[in-house]
Symmetry: D2
Subunit: 348 residues, 4 copies
Amino acid sequence: MFFASDNWAGAHPAIAESLVEAAAGFASAYGTSDLDKRVEKTFSEIFERDVAVFFVGTGTAANSLALASVTRPGGQVFCHREAHVNVDECNAPEFFACGAKLQPVDGPAGKMPADALAAAIGRFPPDFIHGGQPMAVTITQATEAGTAYTLDEIAALAAVAGEAGLPLHMDGARFANALVHLGTTPAEMTWKRGVDILSFGGTKNGCWCAEALVLFDPGKARQMHFLRKRSAQLFSKSRFIAAQFEAYFRDGLWLELARRSNGTAARLAEGIGRSATARLAWPTGSNELFAIVRNDAIKALRDKGAVFYDWPAGPAVKATMAEDETLIRLVTSFATTDEEIAGFLSAL
Amino acid sequence: MFFASDNWAGAHPAIAESLVEAAAGFASAYGTSDLDKRVEKTFSEIFERDVAVFFVGTGTAANSLALASVTRPGGQVFCHREAHVNVDECNAPEFFACGAKLQPVDGPAGKMPADALAAAIGRFPPDFIHGGQPMAVTITQATEAGTAYTLDEIAALAAVAGEAGLPLHMDGARFANALVHLGTTPAEMTWKRGVDILSFGGTKNGCWCAEALVLFDPGKARQMHFLRKRSAQLFSKSRFIAAQFEAYFRDGLWLELARRSNGTAARLAEGIGRSATARLAWPTGSNELFAIVRNDAIKALRDKGAVFYDWPAGPAVKATMAEDETLIRLVTSFATTDEEIAGFLSAL
Amino acid sequence: MFFASDNWAGAHPAIAESLVEAAAGFASAYGTSDLDKRVEKTFSEIFERDVAVFFVGTGTAANSLALASVTRPGGQVFCHREAHVNVDECNAPEFFACGAKLQPVDGPAGKMPADALAAAIGRFPPDFIHGGQPMAVTITQATEAGTAYTLDEIAALAAVAGEAGLPLHMDGARFANALVHLGTTPAEMTWKRGVDILSFGGTKNGCWCAEALVLFDPGKARQMHFLRKRSAQLFSKSRFIAAQFEAYFRDGLWLELARRSNGTAARLAEGIGRSATARLAWPTGSNELFAIVRNDAIKALRDKGAVFYDWPAGPAVKATMAEDETLIRLVTSFATTDEEIAGFLSAL
Amino acid sequence: MFFASDNWAGAHPAIAESLVEAAAGFASAYGTSDLDKRVEKTFSEIFERDVAVFFVGTGTAANSLALASVTRPGGQVFCHREAHVNVDECNAPEFFACGAKLQPVDGPAGKMPADALAAAIGRFPPDFIHGGQPMAVTITQATEAGTAYTLDEIAALAAVAGEAGLPLHMDGARFANALVHLGTTPAEMTWKRGVDILSFGGTKNGCWCAEALVLFDPGKARQMHFLRKRSAQLFSKSRFIAAQFEAYFRDGLWLELARRSNGTAARLAEGIGRSATARLAWPTGSNELFAIVRNDAIKALRDKGAVFYDWPAGPAVKATMAEDETLIRLVTSFATTDEEIAGFLSAL
């Protein structure tokens, strides 16, 4: 019963097999092989427009390169306070962007409200040197709280960013999960709503190690080649990432895997909703959910072998919790089984 | 007939299969799984002492992190002029080390002579603030010229570095090739000769993507955890690197693969030695060789489908070349076949 | 009636004259002259212990170098949310420290409460790689709110920092103002209370351009020489800073100037206390005060030629303000005259 | 008899007095005062076109900011091997430019030949990611060898840079000395010959601390405001630099001072030319000269109190030197007296 993270799963068999198939033969290195090119083209098809794609090794790399590419000295980047870039990347975004600063914005359930974003940006008057200048906005889809921005919410944030002349980056570590939750298309969830740069994650959804930086304006791609290499993210046998993505996209596997993990998460949520000892902290929009659980139930779950993390509760949630309750995070993956769900719910 | 780079090969079947085997099941993320720990232990066995091991995604990352970990403001790092860190990493070492500077040292056949190193270090008087301060020495084994430092040469460089209080880093992108060429042990070629930090490469020798930073003093490892994460090189499903190394080390596969590519390189060298239109620029000590070839022979080779790169010749080599000759680089890999060698030599 | 900033004043005549006196003659450059050495010794006398002193050109440089010297990759630095390093230095601290991150802590009247600091540090568990690691605490004395930490408050913060193994930095841009307000000695306000590094400011208190970084543990000074030079803060004719400090310290001029500006600020505060249209937002502890003023009075003041800045009010202060009131900042300097005070108060 | 550096002189009385005059009164801070604006306008007059001017504290800062402003990831900057930015700034240019790399070019007497520059640039093929990309050229006028580029030489270098699409920066730490040596105008020596950015130095020529970054395309100035502030080079009482420049430019003082130091250097050179124990290593074009002197004469000079530095001789010069000779550097300043020259020459 592993609910600690979707990172604890391995890789889907089809993806691992793709690495076996691609292992034979010679191909030019550093992202120039036929396979690399073919998968890059697939990205353009999936997003319904010409995009520039850069394979990288980690989500941290994708996010940090994205922000580095759009910031200059004195740069301020706006994000949700709990965003991965702000709390879980050990200063990588700040390092890659040569000291750019993240400006955290608060909002319920992991989402940055458009008016809060506007207010935060408004605190930096144009040409006020000392405070630096707004340079980018980054949102996470699905969010760190397991919720998903609606298309309208994305458009509203993009409008605020655009008004201020700021590019909008989306951290899509769980892109597929949000996508199938919303039942929309990749294009609708991104550039059609004003997203400029996307960190497209495959690792959490069944790949071994497959992340891609997607630039919706390929005209801005030239510098990224050097930026990526300087950041040690240009892989010599880059086709090992391409091979994973090829299997990932084939016959819609990526959507199927996301549906599967969202589905187990939904059943988990439903069971928690019926439970006397636990309740959801807020509705989920992906494969991640947060529950307020009685401490004795938590003990029972762990005794039965369930693995999950306690999570720090923000003030608003804390106010709704009893003394003997704890906030926990549960993450399902493509590999989560019905037995695990049943086991967890019965232990609860 | 692919002799462009060992990066053009894919992965050895055993290594790709290891990724399939490891794909199932849950395991804790970010380098903490049993498999990660097991492979880390294997490194200690192979090096005959407790070492700290950090898996990373690229050789550039390993080198850059190594240098970043041993430099402070004003840091000068000494390397051969043609070292990969100096000419082929797009400023990644300088970036990771916050502006540290590489001080190139000349030497024949890709090797930095100990006295040239001592002279270069000597140009930085202690406490002369303006010029910065020596902070590290880095050597490449096998070198970018395909040669291998002898154990005595390594010891001599380490003595110079040690005298100046500088740590010695070894870029081992082709570690196994040099090792089997010298017929020595990993311990003898590194810490027993004074090497402090090693970039241990698996990718060029049959892995998909497997590089490790090895610290021979594990007491200095703590900061590296943060340094690696800040550089976006901590992989969530880190065991996908561990799984490659597990197969790589099993039953000495890594040494067998290196022997194979060194062997095809040797046969190539032998054939070139007999040729009327080509000669070796210097003896090889790995799977990489450099040949001076008549331009008409080069044309013939390429017409027959041989793939390789022209290489810039330094002044000393240039002086030995005729007008109608070109320096080329030939690299074999674990996947190079006898047919390819025969085909190349007959075309020559 | 200039109350915009103490930076708007020029230099005290004695300090400017000192530059004239020092202008003649030759002296060794880059901080090695007799005058430099002499003034460094004065710092040791003033602080009653051997200190290492580094002259720099701006307060931003002093603060940024201090933080850079005590942070490593993944470094988190704790400061008050309104601290100058956090809001007014255009990411210089983050840049100098290669991407270190400032963790803002809230507290009333510009002061960071010790328990809030402890809680903030506590959110970073040891060895949790993703979040980075606490590396330093920085406080401002006098604070950006014009208040001064008491000696006990400094000691309490130092105790929290020390418990966590973190060095304590003090931004003393208005060091002298806080010092004379508390009526204590430089030693008592710093190292005797646990401060490790000090940005000692002279510019705001009557110098042209004189800032010094003071290390209370001179054994840690060696790296700072290179750090300062790499940051372009080693002045060739460094004695032009030394000459200012020499005049600044002669016959206690620095304390006299601070008493003077604190005194005019106190009279201003007193007058505001008696006013019907204005009141202090909180008591002052330096030459800087914050007042809540009726908008019509603000207009009258500006019509009469008073120069000052509106200031953003935090939520706690805002809650006490009427709709037709504004928070303003008033700063006096050594050059502020009794006439200016009288003029301001009568216009109020 | 101080010939160690022009940095050993203090400040010209008129410049120190200007600081006394400017000390009184209030003025807006951070470069916005009337005096700042007035002096900026003077720069435009002197250069016969609208320029953007940024005052900074050190030559290292001016150079590093200039290079930082024109480099992006993977940036290669071409300079003479002995350029100050390459050997005497403790990695500040690399740090400010986030890891950009200096590519040293050899040339006699401190000058980079245009064809050598073209060859160096040519080693970086367009779109070859691994090696990074050319981004700027920087030259020093007068050079570190005390010579001055002719106007034609500058134009030739600018043509090479322009061909490659690279901006041309001039390090003018001894701008005035080269200018009066060539007998030309500031405009002719810079933008009319293709210089894009200039580090304009006043410190070595009689100021206390006055350096300016001059952008000949003011349209590119916006980012520099943030870059300068982030680098801790925005001075609060910026008018203390402006006041120095005001006196520096008044009635052509700066040219007079440069003529004076060039003149004493010329007399020194003449005397050395007549000497039996010394000879010039190459002709001088400023206030700096390099002489090959017999060791017994050097001893005699130092015994008589002459202060100067030995200098490392490059291979070409070394080949012309006897075993008992040493290369020395002699620098005169505005404050060098005829007695010092006479004393030196008689001791020789």
